[in-house]
Symmetry: C2
Subunit: 251 residues, 2 copies
Protein backbone atom coordinates (compact mmCIF):
# COMPACT_ATOMS: atom_id res chain seq x y z
CA UNK A 1 0.00 0.00 0.00
CA UNK A 2 1.18 3.50 -0.81
CA UNK A 3 -0.16 6.55 1.01
CA UNK A 4 -0.78 9.82 -0.82
CA UNK A 5 -1.52 13.28 0.52
CA UNK A 6 -4.06 15.22 -1.55
CA UNK A 7 -4.51 19.00 -1.56
CA UNK A 8 -8.07 19.69 -2.67
CA UNK A 9 -10.04 22.69 -3.90
CA UNK A 10 -13.82 22.70 -4.16
CA UNK A 11 -16.87 24.84 -4.61
CA UNK A 12 -19.13 23.79 -1.71
CA UNK A 13 -22.39 24.92 -3.29
CA UNK A 14 -23.64 21.65 -4.78
CA UNK A 15 -22.64 19.53 -1.78
CA UNK A 16 -24.18 18.55 1.55
CA UNK A 17 -20.67 19.06 2.94
CA UNK A 18 -17.45 17.10 2.97
CA UNK A 19 -18.81 14.00 4.64
CA UNK A 20 -20.89 11.26 2.99
CA UNK A 21 -24.56 11.59 3.89
CA UNK A 22 -27.68 9.90 2.63
CA UNK A 23 -29.43 13.20 1.83
CA UNK A 24 -27.30 14.37 -1.07
CA UNK A 25 -23.93 14.50 -2.83
CA UNK A 26 -20.84 15.05 -0.70
CA UNK A 27 -17.30 16.06 -1.62
CA UNK A 28 -16.01 12.83 -0.06
CA UNK A 29 -18.28 10.74 -2.28
CA UNK A 30 -17.27 12.68 -5.41
CA UNK A 31 -13.60 11.98 -4.69
CA UNK A 32 -14.14 8.34 -3.69
CA UNK A 33 -16.17 7.75 -6.87
CA UNK A 34 -13.41 9.36 -8.96
CA UNK A 35 -10.77 7.16 -7.32
CA UNK A 36 -12.92 4.12 -8.04
CA UNK A 37 -13.12 5.24 -11.68
CA UNK A 38 -9.33 5.42 -11.76
CA UNK A 39 -8.37 2.29 -9.71
CA UNK A 40 -11.51 0.09 -9.91
CA UNK A 41 -11.32 -0.06 -6.12
CA UNK A 42 -13.28 1.49 -3.29
CA UNK A 43 -10.96 3.69 -1.23
CA UNK A 44 -11.81 5.77 1.84
CA UNK A 45 -10.66 9.38 1.83
CA UNK A 46 -9.71 10.86 5.21
CA UNK A 47 -9.75 14.66 5.34
CA UNK A 48 -8.25 17.23 7.72
CA UNK A 49 -11.34 19.37 8.18
CA UNK A 50 -14.91 18.26 7.50
CA UNK A 51 -16.57 21.29 5.95
CA UNK A 52 -20.33 21.93 6.14
CA UNK A 53 -22.82 22.24 3.30
CA UNK A 54 -22.01 25.23 1.09
CA UNK A 55 -18.54 25.77 2.58
CA UNK A 56 -15.65 25.91 0.11
CA UNK A 57 -12.04 24.80 0.24
CA UNK A 58 -8.95 26.18 -1.44
CA UNK A 59 -6.57 23.90 0.44
CA UNK A 60 -8.37 20.96 2.06
CA UNK A 61 -5.99 18.08 2.75
CA UNK A 62 -6.80 14.38 2.73
CA UNK A 63 -4.97 11.07 2.49
CA UNK A 64 -5.66 7.83 0.64
CA UNK A 65 -4.00 4.45 0.31
CA UNK A 66 -3.58 2.84 -3.10
CA UNK A 67 -2.45 -0.75 -3.57
CA UNK A 68 -0.15 0.08 -6.45
CA UNK A 69 2.16 3.12 -6.51
CA UNK A 70 1.44 5.37 -9.48
CA UNK A 71 3.42 8.63 -9.78
CA UNK A 72 1.79 11.43 -7.74
CA UNK A 73 1.15 13.57 -10.85
CA UNK A 74 -0.58 10.61 -12.49
CA UNK A 75 -2.80 10.21 -9.42
CA UNK A 76 -3.66 13.92 -9.53
CA UNK A 77 -4.47 14.03 -13.25
CA UNK A 78 -6.40 10.73 -13.25
CA UNK A 79 -8.58 11.63 -10.26
CA UNK A 80 -9.19 15.11 -11.71
CA UNK A 81 -10.25 13.49 -14.97
CA UNK A 82 -12.76 11.27 -13.19
CA UNK A 83 -14.01 14.12 -10.97
CA UNK A 84 -15.46 16.01 -13.93
CA UNK A 85 -17.92 17.73 -13.97
CA UNK A 86 -18.02 18.03 -10.16
CA UNK A 87 -16.44 21.33 -9.01
CA UNK A 88 -13.73 19.50 -7.08
CA UNK A 89 -10.05 19.37 -8.11
CA UNK A 90 -6.84 17.99 -6.69
CA UNK A 91 -4.28 20.80 -6.75
CA UNK A 92 -1.37 18.64 -5.64
CA UNK A 93 -0.63 15.03 -4.74
CA UNK A 94 2.46 13.69 -2.98
CA UNK A 95 3.55 10.34 -1.63
CA UNK A 96 3.80 10.38 2.17
CA UNK A 97 4.84 8.05 4.99
CA UNK A 98 2.51 5.16 5.80
CA UNK A 99 1.65 6.71 9.16
CA UNK A 100 0.79 10.19 7.85
CA UNK A 101 -2.75 11.11 8.89
CA UNK A 102 -4.44 14.13 7.28
CA UNK A 103 -6.63 14.78 10.30
CA UNK A 104 -4.61 13.77 13.33
CA UNK A 105 -1.25 15.08 12.15
CA UNK A 106 -2.53 18.54 11.24
CA UNK A 107 -0.98 21.19 13.48
CA UNK A 108 -2.94 24.16 12.10
CA UNK A 109 -5.97 24.90 9.97
CA UNK A 110 -6.62 28.25 8.31
CA UNK A 111 -9.95 29.63 7.18
CA UNK A 112 -10.86 32.77 5.29
CA UNK A 113 -14.35 34.28 5.44
CA UNK A 114 -15.19 36.65 2.58
CA UNK A 115 -17.65 39.46 3.11
CA UNK A 116 -18.76 41.87 0.39
CA UNK A 117 -19.94 45.01 2.17
CA UNK A 118 -22.40 46.86 -0.06
CA UNK A 119 -26.06 47.47 -0.77
CA UNK A 120 -26.13 45.75 -4.16
CA UNK A 121 -26.77 41.99 -4.30
CA UNK A 122 -23.91 39.75 -5.40
CA UNK A 123 -23.48 38.64 -9.02
CA UNK A 124 -20.14 36.97 -9.85
CA UNK A 125 -19.60 36.31 -6.12
CA UNK A 126 -23.07 34.87 -5.42
CA UNK A 127 -22.62 31.77 -3.23
CA UNK A 128 -18.92 32.62 -2.88
CA UNK A 129 -19.15 35.45 -0.33
CA UNK A 130 -21.58 36.94 2.19
CA UNK A 131 -23.08 40.25 1.22
CA UNK A 132 -23.58 42.52 4.24
CA UNK A 133 -25.57 45.64 3.32
CA UNK A 134 -24.96 47.68 6.49
CA UNK A 135 -21.64 49.56 6.47
CA UNK A 136 -19.04 47.69 8.52
CA UNK A 137 -16.13 49.28 10.38
CA UNK A 138 -13.47 46.68 9.62
CA UNK A 139 -10.88 48.39 11.84
CA UNK A 140 -13.23 48.09 14.82
CA UNK A 141 -13.87 44.44 13.90
CA UNK A 142 -10.15 43.72 13.74
CA UNK A 143 -9.44 45.43 17.05
CA UNK A 144 -12.29 43.59 18.81
CA UNK A 145 -11.26 40.28 17.23
CA UNK A 146 -7.97 40.37 19.14
CA UNK A 147 -9.97 39.71 22.32
CA UNK A 148 -10.74 36.21 20.99
CA UNK A 149 -7.14 35.29 20.16
CA UNK A 150 -5.51 32.81 22.54
CA UNK A 151 -6.71 29.84 24.56
CA UNK A 152 -10.36 30.12 25.63
CA UNK A 153 -13.54 28.19 26.26
CA UNK A 154 -15.36 28.97 22.99
CA UNK A 155 -18.78 27.57 24.06
CA UNK A 156 -20.38 30.88 23.01
CA UNK A 157 -19.25 30.26 19.43
CA UNK A 158 -19.94 26.53 19.26
CA UNK A 159 -22.81 24.88 17.40
CA UNK A 160 -25.23 22.84 19.55
CA UNK A 161 -24.45 19.75 17.45
CA UNK A 162 -20.65 20.09 17.92
CA UNK A 163 -19.13 16.69 18.77
CA UNK A 164 -15.79 17.88 20.20
CA UNK A 165 -14.96 16.65 23.71
CA UNK A 166 -13.90 20.08 24.90
CA UNK A 167 -15.02 23.63 24.02
CA UNK A 168 -11.50 24.90 24.71
CA UNK A 169 -9.52 25.94 21.64
CA UNK A 170 -6.46 28.10 20.99
CA UNK A 171 -7.11 30.68 18.31
CA UNK A 172 -3.67 31.59 16.96
CA UNK A 173 -4.71 34.37 14.65
CA UNK A 174 -7.86 36.32 13.79
CA UNK A 175 -7.54 39.25 11.42
CA UNK A 176 -10.00 41.46 9.59
CA UNK A 177 -8.75 43.27 6.50
CA UNK A 178 -10.56 45.43 3.94
CA UNK A 179 -9.86 46.06 0.27
CA UNK A 180 -12.53 48.53 -0.89
CA UNK A 181 -15.88 46.69 -0.57
CA UNK A 182 -14.32 43.34 0.27
CA UNK A 183 -13.66 42.33 3.88
CA UNK A 184 -11.70 39.15 4.65
CA UNK A 185 -11.73 37.56 8.08
CA UNK A 186 -8.88 35.06 8.42
CA UNK A 187 -8.56 32.66 11.33
CA UNK A 188 -6.03 29.99 12.21
CA UNK A 189 -5.87 27.43 15.00
CA UNK A 190 -4.81 23.84 15.56
CA UNK A 191 -8.49 22.96 15.32
CA UNK A 192 -11.88 24.62 15.40
CA UNK A 193 -15.26 23.83 16.95
CA UNK A 194 -18.27 23.23 14.71
CA UNK A 195 -19.46 26.59 13.26
CA UNK A 196 -16.78 28.42 15.27
CA UNK A 197 -15.58 30.65 12.42
CA UNK A 198 -19.09 31.38 11.16
CA UNK A 199 -20.28 32.24 14.66
CA UNK A 200 -17.28 34.50 15.22
CA UNK A 201 -17.87 36.26 11.88
CA UNK A 202 -21.59 36.74 12.59
CA UNK A 203 -20.72 38.24 15.96
CA UNK A 204 -17.89 40.43 14.64
CA UNK A 205 -20.44 41.98 12.27
CA UNK A 206 -22.33 43.25 15.34
CA UNK A 207 -19.13 45.10 16.22
CA UNK A 208 -18.73 46.25 12.62
CA UNK A 209 -22.16 47.89 12.53
CA UNK A 210 -21.57 49.56 15.89
CA UNK A 211 -24.24 47.58 17.77
CA UNK A 212 -21.52 45.98 19.93
CA UNK A 213 -18.24 47.24 21.37
CA UNK A 214 -15.02 45.26 21.78
CA UNK A 215 -15.77 44.69 25.51
CA UNK A 216 -19.21 43.29 24.53
CA UNK A 217 -17.41 40.66 22.46
CA UNK A 218 -15.25 39.64 25.44
CA UNK A 219 -18.37 39.49 27.64
CA UNK A 220 -20.01 37.17 25.10
CA UNK A 221 -16.89 34.93 25.08
CA UNK A 222 -16.79 34.80 28.87
CA UNK A 223 -20.48 33.88 29.11
CA UNK A 224 -19.63 30.41 27.69
CA UNK A 225 -23.17 30.32 26.32
CA UNK A 226 -24.09 30.22 22.63
CA UNK A 227 -27.05 32.55 23.17
CA UNK A 228 -24.68 35.27 24.43
CA UNK A 229 -22.99 35.63 21.03
CA UNK A 230 -24.29 36.78 17.65
CA UNK A 231 -25.81 34.92 14.70
CA UNK A 232 -24.11 32.31 12.51
CA UNK A 233 -22.80 33.77 9.24
CA UNK A 234 -23.94 31.82 6.14
CA UNK A 235 -21.67 29.14 4.66
CA UNK A 236 -21.26 31.04 1.37
CA UNK A 237 -18.27 33.12 2.50
CA UNK A 238 -16.28 30.40 4.25
CA UNK A 239 -13.15 28.81 2.74
CA UNK A 240 -10.81 26.25 4.30
CA UNK A 241 -7.65 27.77 2.86
CA UNK A 242 -4.82 25.65 4.26
CA UNK A 243 -3.87 22.82 6.58
CA UNK A 244 -0.39 22.79 8.01
CA UNK A 245 1.65 19.81 9.20
CA UNK A 246 4.76 19.76 11.37
CA UNK A 247 7.76 21.46 9.65
CA UNK A 248 5.55 23.04 6.97
CA UNK A 249 4.73 26.66 6.35
CA UNK A 250 1.05 27.49 5.92
CA UNK A 251 0.20 28.61 2.34
CA UNK B 1 -37.10 63.54 -18.18
CA UNK B 2 -34.25 62.83 -15.82
CA UNK B 3 -31.09 61.06 -16.92
CA UNK B 4 -29.31 58.58 -14.64
CA UNK B 5 -25.90 56.99 -14.94
CA UNK B 6 -25.80 53.36 -13.80
CA UNK B 7 -22.68 51.42 -12.74
CA UNK B 8 -23.43 47.74 -13.31
CA UNK B 9 -21.89 44.43 -12.26
CA UNK B 10 -22.86 41.14 -13.85
CA UNK B 11 -21.93 37.51 -14.23
CA UNK B 12 -21.95 36.99 -18.00
CA UNK B 13 -22.46 33.21 -17.90
CA UNK B 14 -26.23 32.99 -18.38
CA UNK B 15 -26.36 35.72 -21.02
CA UNK B 16 -25.96 35.90 -24.81
CA UNK B 17 -24.08 39.15 -24.10
CA UNK B 18 -25.02 42.71 -23.24
CA UNK B 19 -27.14 43.37 -26.29
CA UNK B 20 -30.71 42.16 -26.82
CA UNK B 21 -30.83 39.21 -29.19
CA UNK B 22 -33.55 36.86 -30.24
CA UNK B 23 -31.55 33.74 -29.34
CA UNK B 24 -31.45 34.11 -25.55
CA UNK B 25 -31.43 36.33 -22.48
CA UNK B 26 -29.27 39.44 -22.55
CA UNK B 27 -28.05 41.72 -19.78
CA UNK B 28 -29.76 44.66 -21.50
CA UNK B 29 -33.09 42.86 -21.49
CA UNK B 30 -32.74 41.88 -17.81
CA UNK B 31 -32.18 45.53 -16.87
CA UNK B 32 -34.91 46.89 -19.16
CA UNK B 33 -37.37 44.34 -17.74
CA UNK B 34 -36.41 45.34 -14.19
CA UNK B 35 -36.90 49.02 -14.99
CA UNK B 36 -40.32 48.21 -16.43
CA UNK B 37 -41.14 46.37 -13.19
CA UNK B 38 -40.20 49.49 -11.28
CA UNK B 39 -41.66 52.26 -13.53
CA UNK B 40 -44.32 50.43 -15.60
CA UNK B 41 -42.59 51.92 -18.62
CA UNK B 42 -40.34 50.56 -21.36
CA UNK B 43 -36.97 52.32 -21.18
CA UNK B 44 -33.92 51.76 -23.40
CA UNK B 45 -30.60 51.24 -21.63
CA UNK B 46 -27.52 52.58 -23.44
CA UNK B 47 -24.24 51.04 -22.30
CA UNK B 48 -20.60 52.06 -22.68
CA UNK B 49 -19.23 48.68 -23.82
CA UNK B 50 -21.29 45.88 -25.34
CA UNK B 51 -19.82 42.72 -23.85
CA UNK B 52 -20.03 39.33 -25.59
CA UNK B 53 -21.67 36.13 -24.36
CA UNK B 54 -20.01 34.86 -21.18
CA UNK B 55 -18.06 38.09 -20.57
CA UNK B 56 -18.48 39.66 -17.13
CA UNK B 57 -18.59 43.25 -15.90
CA UNK B 58 -17.52 44.75 -12.59
CA UNK B 59 -18.02 48.33 -13.73
CA UNK B 60 -20.15 48.53 -16.88
CA UNK B 61 -21.74 51.98 -17.27
CA UNK B 62 -25.08 52.79 -18.87
CA UNK B 63 -27.60 55.61 -18.90
CA UNK B 64 -31.38 55.73 -18.79
CA UNK B 65 -34.06 58.43 -18.87
CA UNK B 66 -36.95 58.30 -16.43
CA UNK B 67 -39.99 60.59 -16.71
CA UNK B 68 -40.12 61.24 -12.99
CA UNK B 69 -37.07 61.95 -10.83
CA UNK B 70 -36.74 59.41 -8.00
CA UNK B 71 -33.67 59.67 -5.73
CA UNK B 72 -30.68 57.82 -7.24
CA UNK B 73 -30.49 55.38 -4.32
CA UNK B 74 -34.18 54.57 -4.79
CA UNK B 75 -33.55 53.85 -8.47
CA UNK B 76 -30.63 51.55 -7.55
CA UNK B 77 -32.51 49.61 -4.88
CA UNK B 78 -35.73 49.32 -6.89
CA UNK B 79 -34.03 48.09 -10.06
CA UNK B 80 -31.89 45.66 -8.03
CA UNK B 81 -35.07 44.34 -6.40
CA UNK B 82 -36.66 43.69 -9.80
CA UNK B 83 -33.44 42.21 -11.26
CA UNK B 84 -33.59 39.21 -8.90
CA UNK B 85 -32.69 36.42 -9.47
CA UNK B 86 -30.61 37.46 -12.52
CA UNK B 87 -26.91 37.85 -11.62
CA UNK B 88 -26.95 41.55 -12.49
CA UNK B 89 -26.74 44.38 -9.95
CA UNK B 90 -26.51 48.15 -10.04
CA UNK B 91 -23.59 49.16 -7.83
CA UNK B 92 -24.25 52.89 -8.05
CA UNK B 93 -26.72 55.28 -9.65
CA UNK B 94 -26.35 59.03 -10.05
CA UNK B 95 -28.32 61.78 -11.74
CA UNK B 96 -26.41 63.25 -14.68
CA UNK B 97 -26.79 66.02 -17.27
CA UNK B 98 -29.39 65.48 -20.00
CA UNK B 99 -26.67 65.25 -22.64
CA UNK B 100 -24.51 62.65 -20.83
CA UNK B 101 -24.01 59.60 -23.05
CA UNK B 102 -22.58 56.40 -21.53
CA UNK B 103 -21.07 55.27 -24.82
CA UNK B 104 -20.04 58.43 -26.67
CA UNK B 105 -18.74 60.36 -23.66
CA UNK B 106 -16.51 57.54 -22.39
CA UNK B 107 -12.85 58.52 -22.58
CA UNK B 108 -11.43 55.18 -21.41
CA UNK B 109 -12.47 51.60 -20.88
CA UNK B 110 -10.57 49.12 -18.73
CA UNK B 111 -10.68 45.34 -18.93
CA UNK B 112 -9.12 42.66 -16.80
CA UNK B 113 -8.54 39.13 -18.07
CA UNK B 114 -8.08 36.49 -15.36
CA UNK B 115 -5.98 33.42 -16.03
CA UNK B 116 -5.47 30.59 -13.54
CA UNK B 117 -2.21 28.91 -14.51
CA UNK B 118 -2.26 25.33 -13.25
CA UNK B 119 -2.90 21.72 -14.22
CA UNK B 120 -5.99 21.24 -12.07
CA UNK B 121 -9.39 22.18 -13.50
CA UNK B 122 -11.20 25.18 -11.99
CA UNK B 123 -13.78 24.79 -9.21
CA UNK B 124 -14.85 28.04 -7.50
CA UNK B 125 -13.52 30.01 -10.50
CA UNK B 126 -15.18 27.88 -13.19
CA UNK B 127 -16.66 30.23 -15.79
CA UNK B 128 -14.94 33.16 -14.04
CA UNK B 129 -11.37 32.66 -15.26
CA UNK B 130 -9.44 30.82 -17.99
CA UNK B 131 -7.42 27.85 -16.81
CA UNK B 132 -4.15 27.50 -18.75
CA UNK B 133 -2.38 24.23 -17.92
CA UNK B 134 1.00 24.97 -19.52
CA UNK B 135 3.33 27.02 -17.30
CA UNK B 136 3.30 30.68 -18.36
CA UNK B 137 6.18 33.13 -17.94
CA UNK B 138 4.20 36.20 -16.92
CA UNK B 139 7.28 38.46 -16.93
CA UNK B 140 7.93 37.56 -20.58
CA UNK B 141 4.25 38.19 -21.35
CA UNK B 142 4.38 41.60 -19.68
CA UNK B 143 7.58 42.60 -21.47
CA UNK B 144 6.22 41.51 -24.86
CA UNK B 145 2.87 43.22 -24.20
CA UNK B 146 4.60 46.62 -24.14
CA UNK B 147 5.12 46.24 -27.91
CA UNK B 148 1.34 46.57 -28.36
CA UNK B 149 0.96 49.74 -26.27
CA UNK B 150 0.35 52.92 -28.27
CA UNK B 151 -1.48 53.81 -31.47
CA UNK B 152 -1.53 50.94 -33.98
CA UNK B 153 -3.59 49.24 -36.66
CA UNK B 154 -4.89 46.28 -34.61
CA UNK B 155 -6.31 44.30 -37.57
CA UNK B 156 -4.37 41.25 -36.38
CA UNK B 157 -6.36 41.27 -33.12
CA UNK B 158 -9.78 42.15 -34.57
CA UNK B 159 -12.71 39.76 -34.97
CA UNK B 160 -13.94 39.26 -38.54
CA UNK B 161 -17.38 40.48 -37.48
CA UNK B 162 -16.04 43.73 -35.95
CA UNK B 163 -18.17 46.68 -37.04
CA UNK B 164 -15.75 49.52 -36.22
CA UNK B 165 -14.93 51.88 -39.08
CA UNK B 166 -11.20 51.77 -38.42
CA UNK B 167 -8.85 49.10 -37.06
CA UNK B 168 -6.66 51.80 -35.50
CA UNK B 169 -6.80 52.05 -31.73
CA UNK B 170 -4.60 53.54 -29.03
CA UNK B 171 -3.83 51.04 -26.29
CA UNK B 172 -2.94 53.14 -23.25
CA UNK B 173 -1.92 50.34 -20.92
CA UNK B 174 -1.37 46.59 -21.08
CA UNK B 175 0.06 44.87 -18.02
CA UNK B 176 0.52 41.27 -16.99
CA UNK B 177 0.84 40.56 -13.27
CA UNK B 178 1.05 37.32 -11.35
CA UNK B 179 0.00 36.41 -7.81
CA UNK B 180 0.95 32.76 -7.32
CA UNK B 181 -1.20 30.76 -9.78
CA UNK B 182 -3.31 33.74 -10.84
CA UNK B 183 -2.29 35.91 -13.79
CA UNK B 184 -4.19 39.12 -14.54
CA UNK B 185 -3.91 40.89 -17.87
CA UNK B 186 -5.24 44.45 -17.63
CA UNK B 187 -5.83 46.67 -20.63
CA UNK B 188 -7.10 50.21 -21.03
CA UNK B 189 -7.90 52.31 -24.08
CA UNK B 190 -10.45 54.88 -25.21
CA UNK B 191 -12.13 52.03 -27.08
CA UNK B 192 -11.44 48.49 -28.21
CA UNK B 193 -12.12 46.46 -31.34
CA UNK B 194 -14.36 43.39 -31.17
CA UNK B 195 -12.46 40.53 -29.42
CA UNK B 196 -9.36 42.72 -29.18
CA UNK B 197 -8.57 41.89 -25.54
CA UNK B 198 -9.32 38.18 -25.94
CA UNK B 199 -7.18 37.98 -29.10
CA UNK B 200 -4.33 39.80 -27.35
CA UNK B 201 -4.55 37.46 -24.34
CA UNK B 202 -4.64 34.34 -26.52
CA UNK B 203 -1.55 35.59 -28.36
CA UNK B 204 0.30 36.65 -25.20
CA UNK B 205 -0.07 33.06 -23.98
CA UNK B 206 2.06 31.96 -26.95
CA UNK B 207 4.76 34.22 -25.53
CA UNK B 208 4.10 32.89 -22.02
CA UNK B 209 4.69 29.28 -23.04
CA UNK B 210 7.86 30.22 -24.95
CA UNK B 211 6.45 29.40 -28.41
CA UNK B 212 6.75 33.07 -29.37
CA UNK B 213 9.23 35.83 -28.57
CA UNK B 214 8.47 39.51 -28.03
CA UNK B 215 9.59 40.35 -31.61
CA UNK B 216 7.16 37.67 -32.91
CA UNK B 217 4.34 39.60 -31.25
CA UNK B 218 5.37 42.84 -32.99
CA UNK B 219 5.61 40.98 -36.32
CA UNK B 220 2.06 39.69 -35.79
CA UNK B 221 0.84 43.23 -35.04
CA UNK B 222 2.56 44.65 -38.11
CA UNK B 223 1.07 41.96 -40.39
CA UNK B 224 -2.37 43.64 -39.96
CA UNK B 225 -3.89 40.21 -40.59
CA UNK B 226 -5.93 38.26 -38.06
CA UNK B 227 -4.36 34.95 -39.14
CA UNK B 228 -0.92 36.26 -38.11
CA UNK B 229 -1.87 36.42 -34.43
CA UNK B 230 -2.80 33.72 -31.91
CA UNK B 231 -6.12 32.21 -30.85
CA UNK B 232 -9.01 33.99 -29.13
CA UNK B 233 -9.04 33.43 -25.37
CA UNK B 234 -12.41 32.21 -24.04
CA UNK B 235 -14.91 34.74 -22.64
CA UNK B 236 -14.77 33.22 -19.13
CA UNK B 237 -11.81 35.28 -17.94
CA UNK B 238 -12.84 38.68 -19.32
CA UNK B 239 -14.21 41.49 -17.11
CA UNK B 240 -15.13 45.03 -18.14
CA UNK B 241 -13.81 46.62 -14.95
CA UNK B 242 -14.31 50.36 -15.43
CA UNK B 243 -15.39 53.10 -17.80
CA UNK B 244 -13.99 56.57 -17.33
CA UNK B 245 -15.50 59.89 -18.33
CA UNK B 246 -13.82 63.29 -18.64
CA UNK B 247 -12.54 64.58 -15.26
CA UNK B 248 -12.95 61.18 -13.61
CA UNK B 249 -10.31 58.79 -12.33
CA UNK B 250 -10.65 55.18 -13.42
CA UNK B 251 -11.61 52.85 -10.52
Amino acid sequence: MTRYKLVIEYDGRPFVGWQRQINGPSVQQAIEDAIEGFCQRRVTVQCAGRTDAGVHALGQVAHIDLDHDPAPDTVRDAINYHLKPAPVALLAVEQVAHDFHARFDAVARAYCYRIVNRRAPLTVDAGLAWRVAAPLDSDAMHAAAQGLVGRHDFSSFRAAECQANSPVRTLDRLTVTRDRGRIDVTASARSFLHHQVRNIVGTLCLVGTGKWTAPDLVTALEACDRSAAGPTAPPDGLYLTAVRYADEKIG
